[in-house]
Symmetry: C2
Subunit: 338 residues, 2 copies
């Protein structure tokens, strides 16, 4: 067993899109285990868009990562030493390990994995992204049979589950994704009724026209995880009493104040259509997580839910994979194998 | 009794801000009364921002006014002839009379006025504007003691009642109004804790700074009846789980698609602060109107609610008064005495 751990730390705060030099790879001795603590050798690390927000100093829904501190994130791994009740060497667990080869965490911040499922599912379809889709759609989307749902980043881990859950609830589902390959994935793998390639449209007006064709009865639920051009395109297509759960604004992660993106007077649709728009952060809803697992884990185990994972190899490649995620280069849930 | 009626019709669809030539004054013979109908001599006509939307051909929450048709609107007046049960000559009534000296309406579309109150209150503080304030604040604002409310167009008939209702519920109330005179009105007549003059700020950033000083604990409820620069200024100041009832977007009435106004990435506050944004149209809520009257009419009669009315003289001056309303030249509820 090694006595060293590798960690990716925040070297400097990015301006707009992060670049590799914003991160540093550091090697440190493994810390001693205190009472109640567990040493985990991380096998897979989750990369998620929300991490971009943590790199800024700006006030957000969670504290920033400090300069020189390890990048935050959820991982799964194997227990290599334990001073906590209930955890033994060899157990597969998940927790907020950070971008690191090893993590020392209190036992009460770890959860043991169901060994009937691939461990990476705890990071994607059964982890935070899957739970976000399930919670947001039920609480804020309130889907009704025969309605139409539009979702951006539709092949991502959140969007792909939103689409499948809505489809199984009897809705028409329209994917928005970047490029023909992702659009094919959306319809063939994830079962969307239609897919619109946002890269084929230079402006909101052109994108709106394509969406209007894909959603001939208007849009009842717009799952907002993108912002920018897509939001502007969709707003006027919303039906009266439509709902817009807001779980992300990835188009605006790269620099908020100085963005050239705009949401012009299409905002007026909020009034005219009596829209309900609810921002939500999944961390507020963890109490429902057992209910989610109870409902979804058997479906995932039975192969009834499609999910895609993109696995990058090696902790040192996490920054590049993260930048690729923000640029939409991944196809499915972005994971790093440590 | 005259046998002629004068009416203001829509002569052409305005581009942006309406101009006098968009309207025409026509004179027609009074129509015959059918069974169940009432002839009303209009004494006061209400002018409201929503009428600008009716002048467009665009799909909105209510049908457009057709070219050559009388401008829509609520009026109060005296019954001069009746073939409807329950209405007699001399009764004071209110209904959708349009911009006209006389109206023929079915009795079931008229409501008799409470003669203990000035008839114009049926158009303002106890009419649609007052009911909008009362309904939207309760259903979508959900005010809690010690929270902070910001309202635009704060000396208008909606904003001034929103402020008073919020103040009496124990909130800190911040008015946004145009010019020092309206700001003084907001604090002295309507009891707002603070007032910010939006005309003193060229951009959203400067306005935001002034609002932040007036709302040192952040903003829990932003009553959205303006849009544009004010919305952009307020969004980042919202507190977590803030609410934004959207009852109007007056800044954007003058031309939606081509507006230079924008709501840039401040939209991200919707996510970060878990905001709830609910567009609402008062016409959906008329079932609650008797409850509103029961609660508010005694307070208005007792002088406990402050309200202001701007009365323009003469039907022929209605277009000019309406343009003034859209430009913010009125101080209180804009009424036309016929």
């Amino acid at each position: 067993m090694t006595d060293q751990m590798r960690r990716i730390t925040l070297a400097r705060r990015p301006k707009g899109m992060p670049v590799p030099d914003d991160f540093a790879l550091e090697t440190d001795p493994l810390p001693e285990l205190g009472p109640g603590e567990v040493l985990v050798a991380v096998t897979y690390l989750s990369l998620d868009p929300y991490m971009r927000g943590r790199m800024d100093d700006a006030k957000s829904y969670a504290p920033s990562v400090g300069l020189g501190e390890v990048m935050t994130g959820q991982g799964v791994g194997r227990v290599v030493a334990s001073r906590a009740d209930g955890f033994a060497e060899g157990d597969m667990v998940t927790g907020i390990t950070g971008w690191a080869s090893h993590a020392v965490l209190p036992g009460d911040q770890l959860r043991k994995l169901d060994d009937r499922l691939p461990p990476t599912t705890a990071l994607g379809v059964l982890g935070m992204p899957g739970f976000t889709a399930w919670t947001g759609l039920r609480k804020y989307g309130r889907p009704q049979k025969r309605e139409t749902l539009v979702v951006g980043a539709a092949t991502g881990p959140v969007g792909s589950l939103v689409g499948q859950l809505a489809k199984s609830a009897g809705l028409r589902t329209v994917a928005v994704a970047g490029g023909p390959e992702k659009c094919r994935l959306a319809t063939e793998t994830f079962g969307f009724d239609a897919a619109v390639d946002h890269r084929a449209h230079d402006d909101a007006r052109s994108l709106r026209k394509a969406l209007a064709e894909a959603a001939p009865d208007g849009v009842d639920i717009y799952w907002e995880n993108v912002g920018g051009k897509l939001l502007e395109a969709v707003l006027p297509l919303m039906n009266t009493h439509g709902r817009i759960p807001v779980c992300g604004t990835i188009a605006w992660y790269g620099g908020v104040e100085d963005s050239a993106d705009r949401l012009p007077a299409t905002w007026r649709a909020v009034l005219v259509k009596r829209l309900s728009i609810d921002g939500f952060i999944i961390f507020d809803h963890w109490d429902d997580y057992p209910k989610f697992l109870q409902e979804m884990a058997p479906k995932v185990a039975a192969g009834e839910i499609a999910f895609l994972e993109d696995v990058a190899e090696g902790l040192e490649n996490a920054p590049e994979a993260f930048i690729g995620l923000l640029q939409g280069r991944n196809r499915g849930k972005q994971i790093v194998a440590i």
